[in-house]
Symmetry: D3
Subunit: 334 residues, 6 copies
C-alpha cells in the first residue's frame, strides 16, 4: 500500500508535497520479522506498474521475500495520512477501493505451494474488510494453513472506515478467527470484530486496566477453541503526542503483563500494532516456552516503533533487547 503523508504536522495539501512510502498491516509485520532475521515472505497482490514494482523492490531490499506476490489488478491501495499533535488526532483517508488486493479472487494464490516450507501464517482483520473476495481469500488461506499445520496468528485490526462491502466485521471475523492459534487486538478490535467487550474500561481517559482484559481473553478463548494465546495491546492516549504503551498476553493460564512505556514524544504511531505483532512472532519463535519474554520483546519493539517515521519498524534485535533490558535513557551511542 502506498502511504502519502503530509509533511511534518501539516494538514493534508497545506503544502504541495507528500511523503511517499510503502506500508500496510501485513507488510509491516513482515518487515519486522525480516529485521529480526526471520525468513519471511509477503503474499499479496500488486499491480504490475511502477508503483507496485517499487513496493516490491523496497520489501525485497528490506529482506522480505516477494516471490509469492501475485501481479495484476488496476491500482495500488493508497492511504493519505495527516499526523496529529496534542489534541488534534492523526487522520487517515483510505483510498483502497478497487485496489489490486481488493480484487484478488480465490484461486489466484496457490496456498499449498506458498505454505510448502512455512511454519507460520499471519493475517490481519484489514484484509477481509476491504472486499468480499479478499475476505474469501482470507478464509481460503486460513484453511490451507490449518491443513498444512502452520501456526496461524491474526491481528484483529478493526478499521471503521473500511468494512464497506456489505457485511460487518462482526459478521465475518468470528468465522475467520476460528482457524487461529494466536489472536491479537486492542479493546476496540475485540468489541467491533468479535463483539466481546472489556469491562470497566474507559479508554478515552487515557488509562486502561490490564486486569479488565483477563475476562476478554477468556471469552475469546471460549469462542475459539483452537486459540492458545490472546494478546491485547494497551494504548493510553494521553494526547496525539503522548501515549502510554504496553500489552498483556493470556496463555490460558496466566495473564502475563509487560512494563508500561511512556512515549512522551511520538514520532509516528502508525504501524505500532504491527510492530507489536512482528515482535511477538519473533519472541514466540525465539523464547518459545517463555511467553513473558515474547511479550516483553513485543512491547519493547513496538515502543521503539513510535520513534520511527513510516509504517515499518526499522530496529534490530539488539536495539529491542537493550530497551527490554531497561535502558530507556536514550543516551547517545558514540
Amino acid at each position: 500500500m502506498l502511504r502519502l503523508a503530509a509533511p511534518g504536522f501539516e494538514r493534508l495539501m497545506q503544502s504541495p508535497s507528500l511523503s511517499a512510502t510503502f506500508g500496510g498491516g501485513e507488510a509491516n509485520v513482515a518487515v519486522s520479522l525480516a529485521n529480526y532475521k526471520i525468513p519471511v515472505s509477503f503474499v499479496t497482490r500488486l499491480p504490475d506498474n511502477d508503483l507496485g514494482i517499487a513496493c516490491a523492490k523496497e520489501l525485497r531490499g528490506l529482506g522480505v521475500g516477494t516471490e509469492q506476490i501475485v501481479w495484476g489488478g488496476d491500482r495500488m491501495g493508497i492511504y493519505f495520512l495527516e499526523a496529529g499533535a496534542v489534541s488534534r488526532g492523526s487522520k487517515v483517508i483510505y483510498d483502497r477501493s478497487h485496489s489490486a488486493l481488493s480484487e484478488i479472487e480465490p484461486g489466484m494464490v496457490d496456498w499449498k505451494e506458498v505454505f510448502k516450507d512455512a511454519a507460520w501464517f499471519h493475517w490481519t482483520g484489514i484484509t477481509p474488510a476491504i472486499s468480499e473476495s479478499a475476505a474469501l481469500v482470507c478464509q481460503e488461506a486460513i484453511q490451507a494453513a490449518n491443513l498444512a499445520g502452520l501456526t496461524v496468528s491474526v491481528d484483529l485490526n478493526y478499521r471503521k472506515k473500511l468494512w464497506r462491502w456489505g457485511k460487518s466485521a462482526r459478521e465475518v471475523m468470528p468465522g475467520l478467527v476460528q482457524g487461529c492459534d494466536i489472536i491479537l487486538g486492542n479493546e476496540e478490535d475485540a468489541a467491533m470484530a468479535l463483539d466481546i467487550h472489556p469491562e470497566g474500561v474507559d479508554v478515552s481517559k487515557g488509562k486502561v486496566k490490564a486486569e479488565a482484559y483477563l475476562s476478554v481473553s477468556r471469552k475469546i478463548m471460549d469462542q475459539v477453541p483452537r486459540c492458545n494465546k490472546v494478546i491485547t495491546t494497551l494504548r493510553g492516549s494521553i494526547s496525539a503526542s503522548h501515549n502510554t504503551w504496553s500489552g498483556v498476553l493470556y496463555d490460558g493460564e496466566t495473564l502475563h503483563r509487560a512494563r508500561e512505556y511512556d512515549i512522551t514524544h511520538m514520532v509516528d504511531r502508525v504501524g505500532g500494532g504491527d510492530s507489536f505483532m512482528g515482535g511477538l512472532i519473533y519472541g514466540l519463535l525465539t523464547y518459545g516456552d517463555d511467553p513473558q519474554a515474547a511479550l516483553d520483546f513485543a512491547v519493547a519493539a513496538s515502543c521503539l516503533k513510535h520513534t520511527i517515521y513510516g509504517d515499518y519498524n526499522r530496529v534490530s534485535i539488539e536495539e529491542v533487547e537493550k530497551l527490554m533490558g531497561g535502558d530507556a535513557s536514550g543516551r547517545v551511542s558514540r
Copy 2:
C-alpha cells in the same frame, strides 16, 4: 484530479517524495480563463473529503467558480507523473478508475441551472473516456448546452491508457462532437477519436506540416455540420526536453497559421493543450472577428505554459501579449 509527480527528473518512487498538485484537462482550461479575467465555473464531481475540498479551495483561489461542483463519490482521480528528459519520454500512470467523476450519473448536475447565465461550454475527450456514465453525462451536458444556445467547444484529447470501459473513442466521440461548434485536437486525436487522418505527416520526425491539416479540418467540418472552427495543435517532438509548438485554425475558409515557437528547455509540458484551449477561448471571446489573433494568443499562451511547473498555465494577458508581440528574448524584468 490529484497530480503526484516524482521530484525533478527522477523516476517514480526513486525518492520517498511526491509533488502533489491539482490539475486535469477541464480544470486547466478553467484556470487559464480565470487568469484572463473571464468569469468561469468548473463543473465536476469531487469526493467530500480533505482532498476534494483542497482541490476546490485552490480553484476558487485562482478565480474559478466552484459552486457547481457536485460533491460525492469515494475517491478523487489521481495521476502519477514522471517527467522525461531528452530521449526518455514523460510517463503517466492513471489511477482514475472509480473516481467521483467516473461515477457521476445523468441527473446529478442540473445543467439548465448551470447554463442559466453562461455563454460557452467546454468539455474534453477525457471525460467520456473514463466511464460509461461519464460519457452519458457529457452527452446530457452537450444537449443542454445546445438547447440553451451556448457555444460548445471540445478538446478531443485522446488518451490511450483510458477508454477501458467497453467502447472505444471512435465509437463514442463522433456522436458527442456533433454538438460542438469548435473542435480542437492534434493529429493523433483526430485519428483515434474521429478516425480522420492527416496525410503525409510523420510525427516521430519531429516536424509536421501545417498544410496537411487543411484536409483533416475539412473532413471534420464535413462530419460535423455545426462546427465552424477546427483547430490543430502542432507539436514537433524533437525530444522530451525540446519541442516545437504551433497551431493552425481553419474557419471554413482560411487555414490560419501561427508562428512556430522553439521550446528548447521545457519545464513541464503537461497541460500544454489545455492552455492552448484556454487561450483560444479567451481569444475568440476577445478578438471575436479576428481568428488569426485568437490563434496567435492561444499559441503564445500555451508556449508559455511549457515553461511553468504544474498543470495550470499561471500567466497573465500581459505576459501572453508580450510574447505575441514578438519578444521571446526572455530578458529579466527588473
Copy 3:
C-alpha cells in the same frame, strides 16, 4: 502580510531557505470564520504585485471575500519568524514599515459600501500601531461601523516592536476602543494599550489566576460604556514548547471560565489569539445567548490552532466541537 519563517527550529538564515506563507491578525480571524462557514470579507490594502495577488488568491481560496481589498502601495508587510523551543522563545522581526497598509489613508475605503450588508466589524490593535494614517483609518472605520449599527469587536493585540510612529498605544487605543462592543486581550494588552492592570499576577511564572481578571474586565467596562463583553485569553508559558491555554469572558454579570488545555507539544503558537477571536465571533453568532458556549468554542478552537503550522487555524466546526466535547485523546481517525 507575508510570513517568512526559518525551517523547523532553526535560527533565521541558518539555512538558505524560508517557509513563505501569508497571515496577520485580521486575516487570521477572517480565515477562521470562513472555515466555520460564516460569510466574511477582508478589508485591507495590498500592493498590486505578485505577492499581493498571491495573498488575495490564498484568502479567496480559503473562502474569505477579497472584493473589498484596496489595491495600491509599494510593498507588502513582512514578518520574519524563528520558532523557539523549550527555554528559547520564538522571535519575530517585523518588516512592516511603509507597507501598503501602513500608507493607507482615510477615504481610500468606502466604509459605507463595505458595511452595507455587514453585521460585524472586527479590528485589532496591530493596525493603529503601524502608522498614523492607519490609526486614522481605524477610527474612520469604527465610526462608520457604529453608524451602520454593526457589532464592533477588537483584539487589543499589543506589539511592543511596532508603535513607532510617534504616539504610544496608551495614547491612541483608549479612544478607539470607545466604539467597541466586545474587547479581547491578554494581561499585557490591557496594561500596555489601556493602562489597566491585573492584580497579583506574575505571568512569567507560567501560572495565571482567572480571578484576577474580573477586576480588569470591570475596569474596562467602566472605561468603555458601549462594551458588553470583555474576554481575556489566559496563556501559561511553561516553556516555548509547552503552554497552558484558556480564557475568561465577562459579560457584565458573570465571569465565565473555560477549561484549561495543556498544550504539551506546540506546533505553532503564532495566530493563537486570532484563532480565539475567530472562534469567539463564531460562538457568539451561533450560541448568541450562551456566552459560556461561545467561550468554550473559542478556547477549544484556539487550542487546536497551536497544533497547526502557519498563521491560519485550519480546522472545522466538527473538529472544534469534538474537542469541546472532551475528546482530547488525539486518537487516529481511521
Copy 4:
C-alpha cells in the same frame, strides 16, 4: 540585500517556500574579488538585526571585509526573484524602499578612514537609484576616492524599476561618472544612464555587433575626460534559458574583443554583470598592462557565473583560467 527566490522555475508563491540568500551588485563584485584573493572590503549600511548580521557573516566567511559596514536603519533591502525559462523572462520585484542603505546619509561613512589603505573604489548605478541620500553618499564617496587617489570604477547598472525618488538616472549619473576611471555597462545602461546610444543594434534580436560599441565608448570618453577604459558587456538574449555572452573593452586606442560564449543552459543569470566587473578588476590588477587578458578573464569568469546558483560567482582563478585557456568541454574532473 536579501534575495528571495521561488524554487526551481516556479512562479513566485506557487509553493510556500523561498530560497533565501544574500546578494546585490556591489556585494557580488566584492565576493568575486575575495574568491580571487584580492583584499576587499564591503562598505554599506545594514540593519542591526538577525538578517543584517547573517548577511555580514556570510560575506566575512567568503573573505570580504565587513569592518566598514555601518550598522543602523530599519530594514534590509529585499528582492524577490522568479527564474524564467525559454520565452518567459525572469522577473524581479524590488522591495528596497526605506532599506538601511536607502536611508544612509552623507557623513555616516568616514570615507577618509575607509580609503586609507585602499587602491580601488567600485560603485554601481543601483545605489544612486534607490534614494536621494544614497545618491549624495555616492557623490561623497567618489569625491573622497578621487582625493585619495584611488582608481574609481562604476557599473552603470540601469534598473528601471528603481529610480523612483524624483530624479532620473540621466539627471544624476552623468555627474557621478565624472569621477570614474573605468566605466562598465551594457547597451541599455549607456542609453538610460548617460543618454548615449549604440547605433544599428537591435538587442531584441538576440545578436549584437561589437563594432557598434566603439562609437558609444568614444562618446563616453568624450563626456568623461578622466575615464580611460570603457567596457561593454554583450549579452545576446536568445531566450531566458540560452544567452550568448561576451564583452568589449575600449582603452582609448583599441577596441579589445573577447570570445563569445554560448551559454546554452543557464542556471542563474542574476549577478552576471557583477561577476564580469569582479573579473575585470582582478584582471586589470593582475595583468595591468594587458587589457585584452583582463577582458578575457572577465568574460570567462562571468560566463561561469551563469552556471552557478545565487548572486555570487563562486569560482576560483584556476577555474576561470581553465575556461580562458579554451577548455569549455565541461568534462568531469575526477
Copy 5:
C-alpha cells in the same frame, strides 16, 4: 560506495544538504543487469555498519545478489559530487582511502565458491587503483575466473585522482587485462591504463572519429591475445550540459559502429560508462552472435542513463529497445 551530491547545480556545501545515494562502477553494472533480469551478484567488501547495510539493502531491493559481500573494514568509500553545467564541468572529490574495499586482502573472498554457478565476471580499473591489496585481489579474481572458464570483461575506467598507492595504472593494468576476453574503455582509458593512443583525435574539440579507434582496438588485441572484443565509448563533450554519445565494437574482424545520440540536456552523466557496460553484457548474452545488436543496445541503454539521476541506470529492456528502435522523440506515455 556512498555518493554525496550537492543539490541541483549548486557547488559543494553551498547549502547545508547533500543528496545521498549509493553507486560505483561495478555496482552500477550489476544494477543494470538486474534491471534486464540477468541473475547477478555483487562481490565487494562493506563495513558492517548502518551505511554498509543500507547499501546492501538497496542493491538487494534492485535485484542484485548480496550474498557474496564480505563484511568488515572500517569505513565505506565515499565520493562527493558537484554537477556541472555548460562550461563548468562536474567535479568529483574521492574519499575512498582506507575504505573497506581498499583494505580487502587476497583470501578474503572464496572465488571458487563465488564462481561456482557463474558464467561471467566483470571488473573495472577503479578497483586496482584504490590500493595495492585491492589490485592483488583483482588479480586473484581474474585468475580464478579464468580457471573456472568464465567470460571476463573489464572497463578500463582510468581515474587520475585515484592511483595513489605507489604504482601507476600503466604498471598494473596491462598485466590484469591479460585475463580478459572483453575490454571496454574510452580514448583516455586506453592511453592512461595501457599506453595505447588513438591517432588524430582531439577530444577537447567535442568531436571524435570512430575510425581512429580501429587502430587502438587492434593494438589492444595484439597486446591481449585472449581478448576477442574491444569496445570504445565515444563521448563528444560539447559542454557539461550537452554531449554526444556513441560507441564502436571491434570483434577482430569488423569495427561495428552505433548511432550517435545527441544528449542535449543531460540530467546526470556519472555512471554513463557503467550503463554502457551493463547494456553490452546483456546484449552479448542475449544477441550473442550479433555484436552489432549488442552494441546498439549498450549505446541506447547508456544514452538513457544520461537522463536519470544517480549512479544507477533505472531503465527496462522495453525502454532501451524503444530507443534502439529509433523513437527518441520523448513523447509522453499516457
Copy 6:
C-alpha cells in the same frame, strides 16, 4: 569535521538525503566564544579541498579566526548522526580515521607563533583519541601553552568508539591533563579517561546527585596539582527527547551548584558539552572572580544549545543572560 545527519528523526539512509553541516568539539567551543565576542582562533588541520575550504569559510563567517589552520592531508573527518527520540537514543557513526587531523604530526603547528598573543588554550579528549600523532601534538601544544603562560582548559570528552590506535584513554589522558588549569567532564569522562569514579551515582536512572561529584573533583585536583577548577556537567537522561541539565564547579574550596534546567523537548543535544565549555570560558574571562556566575552562564548557555539544530550554539550573550535571569518561559519576542 563534516556532520552528516539523517533528516528529522529518520534512521540513517532511510531517505536519500543528509543534512550536511560542520562541527566538532573544539570548533564548537570556538564558535561559542566568537558569538560572545571573544577573539578566538581555531587550530586544526584541514584538507585543501572544497570540503576543508567550506568548513573554514563557515567558521570565518561566524567570527572564528582561521589563520592558524594547517592545510594538508587527504580527507576531512566525518561523523554520521541519527537523531533519537524517546527510548531510542541518538547514534553516531564516526568516519574519522585517516582524517587530515588524525595525520597531523608534531612540528606542523608553530605553537610559539600561535600562542604569541593568546591567553587561553582549550583542547578536548577527542583529539588524542583519534591517533597517536594527534595525541603527540596535543602534548606538544599543552607544553607550549604552559611555557607561554596560557590558561589551559580541557574537556575530557571520552568517546568509546574512538580510542582505537593502540593506547586507551586511561593510558594517555592522565599525562596530558597534568598541564591543565581547568578540567571539565561528566561522570563517564572522569571514569574512563582518568579512572576516577563518582560514588553512589547511577546515571541510567536519569537522576544524579551533585554531592557525589565533590569527591571526584577533589580526586582530580589531587592528581593534577596545577588544576584549580573542576567542572562537571550533570545530564539526567530521562529519555532521548527529555533531559535535565546542570553542572557543578569546584574551585578547591566550594562546590558551586547551578540551577537544573528541564529540557523537555530537545532539538539537538550534540555539542551540549562544548557549548557548556564555551560559556564557561566566557564566564571565567568575564566574571573572573565569581565562579558561580561563570557556572550559571555556562549552564544557561548550554541549556539553550539543546534547542538549536547543529553542533554550534548559535546564541548571543543577551539570550544567555535572559535565561540566567530566570526567564525560561519561552515567550514570543515581538
